[in-house]
């Protein structure tokens, strides 16, 4: 027996069909669009590595009065144990100094004085506007909670804007961050804020480098060149990350004795 569909129901179904289709699409889109926290976790993941890391960081600092200087540092990281070491190699008057993080302690070594001093991740390093966190592994999802601020189209590219606030009891350089992420989830622009909401520093990532983690064989991305501008004094930095080596490092490297041994 054939069931006959009444005409009014048929018309209603026809009318509702596009509405249901749009709703289904919206739901799908919503499901496809990850949350802000998930986005930030993705950013961290794309930049994290199992391998030990060694690289050279070169910073060109240009002050408001036009005076320029170059600082060169060797950065050593063991992300698996969160150890971090930075040795300043240029200029001559700072060479041999550096920063060493073991567990929760971040130490600053003043080569001219032969002094160790405990410092914090909040502090700037080597007399510049850069911070230890700029050179360490990406841990945005551990240190911050994220809020999605929607999208912004700039020069034809759609960027996701995410606003991050430091979690309680975390030690970070900026109490708040605002990130602009491109469709591949690369950080393109980053603004660091004080707890009051005052802008402290604005960064623009000009280029990334693609690497392969030799331990996991997974592709990773790493900064190549970042432009940074401090708000109050107008000091500008161009930071280049070069000569990256992903290979095991000596276990004796992350010790005060090793850094002290760099001085003749």
């Amino acid at each position: 027996m054939r069931t006959r569909i009444p005409l009014p129901s048929f018309v209603l179904a026809l009318l509702l069909l596009p509405v249901l289709a749009v709703a289904a699409e919206a739901k799908e889109e919503k499901e496809a669009k990850p949350s802000a926290d998930a986005l930030v976790r993705q950013v961290d993941k794309r930049m994290s590595m199992q391998s030990d890391y060694r690289g050279v960081v070169r910073i060109r600092e240009t002050r408001k009065d036009g005076i320029e200087r170059l600082i060169e540092m060797q950065v050593y990281r063991r992300d698996s144990s969160q150890n971090f070491l930075m040795v300043i190699t240029q200029p001559r008057n700072l060479a041999g100094g550096g920063y060493l993080r073991i567990g929760k302690n971040l130490w600053e070594y003043n080569a001219a004085l032969g002094h160790w001093e405990r410092t914090t991740r909040r502090a700037n390093i080597v007399g510049t506007i850069a911070c230890e966190g700029d050179f360490d592994r990406s841990r945005l999802s551990e240190d911050y909670t994220a809020v999605d601020e929607g999208e912004e189209v700039i020069q034809g590219t759609r960027y996701r804007k995410v606003y991050l606030s430091a979690r309680p009891d975390t030690e970070v350089s900026f109490a708040h961050l605002r990130l602009w992420l491109d469709p591949d989830l690369n950080i393109v622009k980053r603004i660091g804020y004080a707890p009051s909401g005052r802008v402290l520093r604005t960064d623009l990532v000009r280029s990334y480098q693609k690497l392969k983690d030799p331990v996991t064989q997974q592709p990773i991305i790493h900064y190549r060149e970042v432009f940074e501008q401090e708000e109050e004094e107008g000091t500008q930095l161009v930071v280049r990350y070069e000569d990256v080596q992903l290979a095991p490092l000596s276990p004796n490297l992350f010790t005060k004795s090793w850094l002290e041994g760099r001085l003749r």
Binding site: R60, N105, A112, W116, R118, G127, Q155, Q209, Q229, Q245
Partner: protein
């Protein structure tokens, strides 16, 4: 005749004397106020000029801001260095009235001090790094014993803390680290491998006793020898002046006593001063609070004492208190101060105990690490050559003795300004790594996605030797000629007979003639908040004078209006016998003038007598913060002739204004009205 009429009226109406009394009170108060404000102005001027500011300061006219001797929250002013300092100095010394030219640069530095464990561990690290020898090992052994005792105290404090507060995950980790550090096997390892053991303590244990502390140090960068010679009140309290061309720091005696002295000794001094002002332990709770704060610091003091000092201190305390005991209870007993034992304990502290205590953090001859105010400043080591004060500009708490003197080479390093050599090195390095091309700052509003480079990681070079570097400390000596392109301002000390304004005028003419961009500023312009304070006292005096004037004006006008009403009949009679309204008006005004003039002169006399009575030998000012503004520890109020003129004329004018309306209304009475009113009254 009018004057006679006015005098008669005043004499016959004692109620009108109230106006004179008010005028006298106002004049007396204004005399005292003017004298006090004048003393503050003169005292501050003297303190400023003779404590380093000089009569005038000269700076580059192209600077955006002028020099400042005390920096506000905005930091150092934006200034351009003086053009060719050596030549500028020669030019200035040739100006009539200029006796000395002293280069200056004012700034604020920071001194960091780690917690006591950080300090102990750093000391042990220094010894551990020395070449191996029997003597070194013996010293390390003693230090290890000391360290172990300190750690036992840390563990005990930690247990007490855990009993009082709930534990976090971090504190469990800390407790495990402490437990490990107190195990005998840990110290056996120390003998064989001291550095890894120290590293464990530095990373896992030291932070448990605090973060350490930073203190700020205001300094005046200068040629130390030239400064001491140019400012006659300069005197060394301890140590010596550094030889010419040698870097060094002279600490202001005020900052040395306040910030470098053992806190409990500072409090003992404060208690003595309070008691000399009449405070007692029985009657003043603040004294007891000071004692409690000192008691709370005993564990920190004990942790900073080495074995030898602790033993000697204990023996001294046993002698002072007359009973044996452990060091901590003995110290607690010593600090149980009251009105009966304070003087004896004070004497015992400085006479017997102080030699065994770290009374000052630094002594002349020690090296101090100074940092700039920014937290990223790498710092510079500088030798403390001594302490100094300005004679006669207040005690050791006076602001005049609050700034320290620092050589210009160290100041330049602290300010972060690069030397010519460093700038050349920077240029060379930038070129070598291909980062020397000039580029426009990118737009933060219109940007494109970053470039993605496929980079082959560099081949591992594990076998490459680790880089080594030569230590590049700032040398202890410097060549003054290297600093002459970076002098920002200079103090001019004038000859005693020179007029500062005239000298400034001559400098301007010289600068124009020679085409040198020079500008001058006097002590008021360079005084910063100090000048602001003096200005505030002047504003307060004007405000006080204004309020008193309004009060006198109102009350006098009311009194005189009432009197004018009572004199309706008298005025009507005078008008009836032919006196013109104008004459009556002037007669009444003349009464006001007499009351105002006599009152103000009497009041001024009273004020002058009070000042003379109070301050013929000067008034001792105990508050050391005030001493700077009064030019020393004694206030000598002085009266100038213009004070008398200003007070007399000002007060008389106020009374005259108050008389105006009563005189006008009083003189408007016609004989008919006067008669009618008299009939009505009758």
């Amino acid at each position: 005749m009018l004057f006679h009429f006015a005098l008669q009226s005043v004499r016959s109406r004692p109620r009108s004397w109230l106006v004179g009394l008010l005028a006298a009170s106002m004049a007396a108060l204004l005399t005292l106020g003017l004298s006090l404000v004048g003393s503050i102005y003169d005292g501050t001027r003297l303190s400023m000029i003779e404590s380093g500011a000089g009569h005038l300061q000269v700076y580059n006219a192209n600077s955006a801001e002028g020099p400042q001797m005390s920096l506000g929250p905005g930091g150092a002013p934006e200034m351009v260095p003086l053009p060719d300092y050596a030549r500028t100095r020669e030019l200035l010394l040739g100006v009539d009235g200029v006796r000395d030219v002293v280069p200056l640069e004012v700034g604020t530095g920071r001194v960091f001090r780690g917690n006591y464990l950080d300090e102990k561990l750093a000391a042990v690290r220094d010894v551990a790094r020395a070449p191996a020898s029997a003597e070194r090992d013996a010293r390390l052994g003693r230090m290890a014993d000391d360290l172990r005792r300190a750690l036992e105290r840390v563990a005990r404090d930690s247990r007490r803390r855990d009993e009082a507060f709930s534990q976090s995950v971090g504190s469990e980790e800390d407790a495990r680290a402490l437990e490990q550090a107190l195990a005998p096997s840990f110290w056996e390892r120390f003998g064989a491998e001291p550095l890894p053991v120290l590293e464990f303590l530095e990373n896992r244990v030291a932070k448990q006793v605090g973060e350490g502390e930073s203190m700020y140090l205001d300094y005046v960068g200068t040629d130390l020898g030239g400064f001491a010679k140019a400012f006659g009140r300069f005197e060394l309290v301890s140590g010596e002046l550094p030889p010419r061309g040698t870097r060094g720091l002279l600490l202001g005696q005020a900052v040395y006593e306040r910030s470098f002295k053992l806190p409990m000794a500072v409090r003992l001094d404060e208690l003595k001063r309070e008691r000399e002002r009449g405070a007692t332990f029985a009657g003043d709770e603040r004294l007891g609070t000071q004692v409690e704060r000192s008691l709370a610091e005993i564990p920190d003091l004990l942790s900073r004492l080495d074995v030898e000092r602790a033993t000697a201190l204990r023996a001294s305390l046993e002698g002072v208190l007359g009973e044996p005991g452990e060091l901590e209870p003995l110290l607690e007993k010593f600090w149980a101060l009251d009105d009966g034992n304070f003087d004896a304990r004070f004497q015992a502290f400085y006479g017997t105990l102080a030699p065994h205590l770290p009374l000052y953090r630094v002594r002349p001859g020690d090296t101090l690490v100074l940092k700039g105010t920014l937290d990223n400043d790498p710092g510079v080591a500088v030798k403390v050559w001594g302490t100094y004060r300005f004679r006669g500009l207040g005690g050791d708490g006076s602001q005049a003795n609050g700034a320290s003197l620092l050589d210009l080479a160290t100041v330049r390093h602290l300010s972060g300004r690069m030397t010519r050599e460093q700038m050349e090195e920077a240029k060379r390095l930038l070129a070598a790594v291909g980062m020397d091309s000039k580029e426009e700052a990118p737009s933060f509003d219109t940007f494109s996605p970053p470039r993605m480079l496929d980079v082959e990681p560099a081949a591992p070079t594990e076998e490459a030797p680790a880089p080594t570097f030569a230590r590049a400390s700032l040398p202890p000596t410097f060549d003054a000629a290297d600093l002459e392109d970076g002098i920002f301002h200079a103090a001019l000390v004038l000859t005693p007979d020179a007029d500062a304004d005239a000298v400034a005028e001559r400098i301007q003419q010289l600068a124009q003639a020679k085409g040198v961009p020079l500008a001058t500023a006097d002590w008021r312009e360079v005084g910063g908040f100090v000048t602001g304070m003096v200005g505030m006292t002047q504003v307060l005096l004007v405000a006080l004078g204004g309020m008193m004037g309004l009060f006198v004006l109102g009350v006098s006008a009311g009194t005189l209006l009432l009197l004018a009403r009572e004199r309706v009949g008298e005025v009507g009679t005078l008008r009836a016998v032919g006196m013109q309204r104008r004459d009556v008006f002037f007669g009444l005004m003349l009464e006001g003038l007499v009351l105002g003039a006599v009152g103000s002169l009497l009041g001024h006399g009273l004020g002058a007598a009070l000042l003379w009575g109070l301050g013929s030998d000067g008034i001792a000012v105990r508050d050391e913060a005030l001493q700077f503004f009064l030019g020393g520890a004694v206030l000598r109020p002085e009266l100038a002739a213009w004070h008398a003129a200003v007070v007399s004329v000002g007060v008389t004018l106020v009374v005259l204004v108050a008389t105006w309306i009563p005189a006008w209304r009083g003189s408007a009475v016609t004989p008919a009205v006067a008669m009618r009113l008299r009939e009505m009254d009758g």
